[in-house]
Structure formats: C-alpha cells, structure tokens
Symmetry: C2
Subunit: 267 residues, 2 copies
C-alpha cells in the first residue's frame, strides 16, 4: 500500500468524522465511474460546507497507480481549526489517499451470496443521507454483528423499519417485473454504481419493509468496487433462514449491465 503523510492530531476528520471519502476502482490507473464519484463528493462538500478540491488534486494519486486492478481511497476532511464543533470560518480542507491492489470476489459474482438482516437500525438523518461521510459507526457496529465467513453482507433497516441498504453495498431487486431500490433520502449511502445504473436503466426508488421485500423475484447487492452479487439466501438477525432465491438469467442480465460499467466480465 502506498500512502501519503498521516493526519495531524487536531484534524477534524478524527475529532468529529468531519469529512467525506470515496472508494474508487482503478484499472491500470484509470478510475471507473469517476464522474459519479466526483458528483457524490461534490454533493457531500456542498452539504457539509467544505470546499470541493480541484479535480487535478483529486487525480494526483492516479499517476501513482500500477497496471493492475487497484482501489483508491480518497479521504477529504474539513482540516484543522474551529472552536469545538464550530467549523472554522475559512477552512483549509485536507485530502489524503491510499492505494491498494484489489481482487474482486468472483465466486460471489458467479454463485451469489448469503446475507442476513442486521439488528442495528440506522438513525434518520436527512441532512447526511446519501453521503459517504466519515461518521460510519453504524456500519461498523452492523458489520460486527456476525463473523460467519459464509455470510457476505447484512441488510439494514432504518429506525422506522424500512429497508435501506447493506453495510457496504446498495440493494436492488426485481418485484412484479420492476427493478427497485430503497429511497435514500433519510439515511444510507447512495453508491456510485447505483447512480450510474439509475442513469441507464429504469430503477424505481421505493419505501419497503422487509416482509414486502421477500416477495422479490431476484435480489442483488452492488457497489462500484465489488460489482454485483446475486443474493441467493436471506437469514434473519438470529441466523434463521427466511428466504432462498434460485440463480436465473434474470440475475445475469442486471449483473452484465453493471459489470459493463466497471469493465468486469459478465458472469
């Protein structure tokens, strides 16, 4: 892993999680879904009142990338300063990056994954909804709910019981012939792959509870690094099986569309 300098002790990123990040797939130094990542970062900057970095500063690590598949993590904080929680009047944002080799989980593309419901419920916070900000304790605690390697992801509901996302992936399904995904205007992270897919296909944003969701004909998880995993089994929070789905050509069509955007093969 190649990295830049560390974070100063008084950086607001550590102190308050006062910042944003993006995790970007690189292929020979070429970022995939770069526009979608930049658009989300810009939205986050606007919402938090942090100046958006210049695109050429964001692109600096691309020149450091190797030939293979890598993941670039960009972290942007409000920098140092301010009095307590109060943001400094004029802030000097701090941008850091990390680059690491990456191998996608091809078996999960092909065979699909088993997931479970998490017990933790996401708090409602419309002001932060959709952003990839640095306040991610909910995701950490949800991901800590299981350590069975056979379970690939955990599904999260909000405090009103609506399905939102998985701990690190967005959720998509087909129901009555329609592609759907949860609305993310109260909590959750609006993924770059989700944004790109919604630009290109008719995917309906809906409010849905876990019971209704089980009527889905096919379910997928996806993000801009891992691509798309079909969901073949869903357990409840206690590990008891709730539903199985058989892999079908339906799964492959959606996967192929998503994987085209990431230059991944159609499984």
């Amino acid at each position: 892993m190649r990295t830049e300098a560390a974070w100063p002790l008084d950086d607001r990123g550590v102190a308050y999680g006062d910042g944003l990040f993006e995790t970007i797939l690189l292929r020979g130094g070429r970022p995939l879904l770069w526009d979608e990542h930049l658009a989300r970062l810009a939205r986050g900057c606007h919402r938090l009142g942090i100046p958006m970095p210049e695109e050429h500063d964001l692109a600096v690590p691309l020149a450091e990338a190797g030939n293979g598949l890598e993941v670039l993590k960009l972290t942007l904080t409000r920098g140092s300063g301010g009095r307590g929680y109060r943001p400094p009047f004029s802030c000097a944002p701090r941008l850091r990056w990390q680059l690491a080799a990456f191998v996608p989980a091809e078996t999960r593309w092909q065979q699909g994954v088993r997931v479970r419901h998490c017990r933790l419920r996401l708090g409602l916070q419309p002001v932060l909804a959709g952003l990839k900000h640095l306040n991610r304790l909910e995701n950490v605690l949800a991901r800590a709910e299981w350590d069975d390697e056979d379970i690939a992801e955990g599904l999260l509901c909000d405090s009103d019981g609506r399905l939102v996302e998985a701990t690190a992936m967005n959720l998509f399904w087909r129901r009555a012939g329609r592609l759907e995904t949860p609305r993310l205007d109260r909590c959750g992270v609006a993924g770059a792959l989700r944004a790109a897919l919604m630009e290109r296909m008719e995917i309906h944003e809906v409010d849905i509870h876990p019971d209704e969701f089980e009527a889905a004909e096919a379910v997928w998880l996806g993000n801009s690094v891992q691509g798309v995993w079909p969901v073949v089994r869903l357990d409840d929070g206690a590990g008891i099986e709730r539903r199985r789905w058989l892999l079908s050509p339906l799964h492959r069509t959606f996967q192929a569309e998503a994987h085209r955007l990431l230059d991944y093969p159609a499984p």
Copy 2:
C-alpha cells in the same frame, strides 16, 4: 498546545469515526470528575467492543500538565486494521491526547446566556446514545447553523421532536419545583457533569417537547469544562425570541452545586 504523534493514515478513527473521546478539565494537573469521565469511556469501550485502556496510560498526560487551568482531550480509536467496516478480530486501540490552556466564560456564569433552537434533528440510535463517540457530524452541522456571537448554544431535538441537549452541553431545568433533564437513551451525549449532578441531586430524566419545556421556571446548560450557564433567553430556529427567564437565586443554587464539583466559584 502540547501533543503526541499524529494519526496514521489507516486509523479507523479517521476512516469511520471508530472511537471515543473525553474532554477533561485539569487544575494544576488534577483532573476534575475523573471517575465520571472514566466511567463514560468504559461504557463506550464496552458498547463499541474496544478494550478499555489501562488507567495509568490514560493518566500519562496528567504529568505533562502545567499549574493553571487546562483542558485535556483524550481520543481513543479502535486503531488500524480490519476489512472495510469490519473491526479487526483483535484490535490494537490507539490513544492520543492534547492539552491546552483554558479560561472559562465567567461572564456567561454571571449574566447567563442566550440560546436558540437548531433546525437539525438528531437521528435515533440507541446503541450509540449517551456515548462521546467520534461520529459528531450532527453536532458540527448544528453548531454551523448560527454565527452570532451573542448566541451561546443551540438546543437540539431528536427526529421525533423531543428535546435532547445543546450542541456541546447538557440541558437542565426546573419545572413545577422539580429538577429535570432529557432522557438520553435514544441519542445525545451523557455529560460527565450531568452524571455527577445526578448522583448528588434528585434530577428526573424526562421526555419533553420544546413547548412544554418553555414552562420551565429556570433553565441551565452545563458541561464538565465550562461549568453551568443559566439560560436567560431562547430564540427559535429563525432567530425570533420565544421566551426570556430572569436570573434568580434559583439559578445560583444549582450553579453553586455544579461549580463545587469543578472547583469553580459560585457566581
């Protein structure tokens, strides 16, 4: 300001706000409400699954303190490692500290303060409620709602409209002769001063909406660094006055009790 080393780039404190902090008043190197701070830190460690540091490690910075009044900020993170959000199986927590000279706002003790309602509402998250964790974007955004120096604090409601706290202080009031404070089991930070006062006085934890709260006979804000400020005026989120309170001996009694715990004078 004297500090230790910086945060490594891959520390989970920056990445996810995966950690806790305590802000402690020191008088000639002697920490005030040390037991209450340690108790809250231990509760946070337990809730997040981070090993609690040894007390002698936590006390290291005390030896570095000067003669006067200082604030010690202790920050504890889960350290580095793990796969994405997933916490590492055995974590090596990282403890850092900052020490800074401090002068309390004596005028606010004496004359009281003007506060306002914040528009931002705190999301409900019982798992994190009460803890002083590093996910503090809500506080940052709430504090960014005003920049009028005459307004000392902003009051926060949760997403169900119940009063919770101020951005960096706990809220107390007297109503029908009873001392009350909001319940903090769904969100908010349970202050060390609040804990110490509740040990020593009869303070009732209640669910309350802003309208009912305006019936209070006296209102205070307090924390373990600033002591206690009487609230003399409350504005709404648009800056329009909602209520005034006259300073009375009632205010002084509660302040005196709190200030005794911090070795501050009774105003």
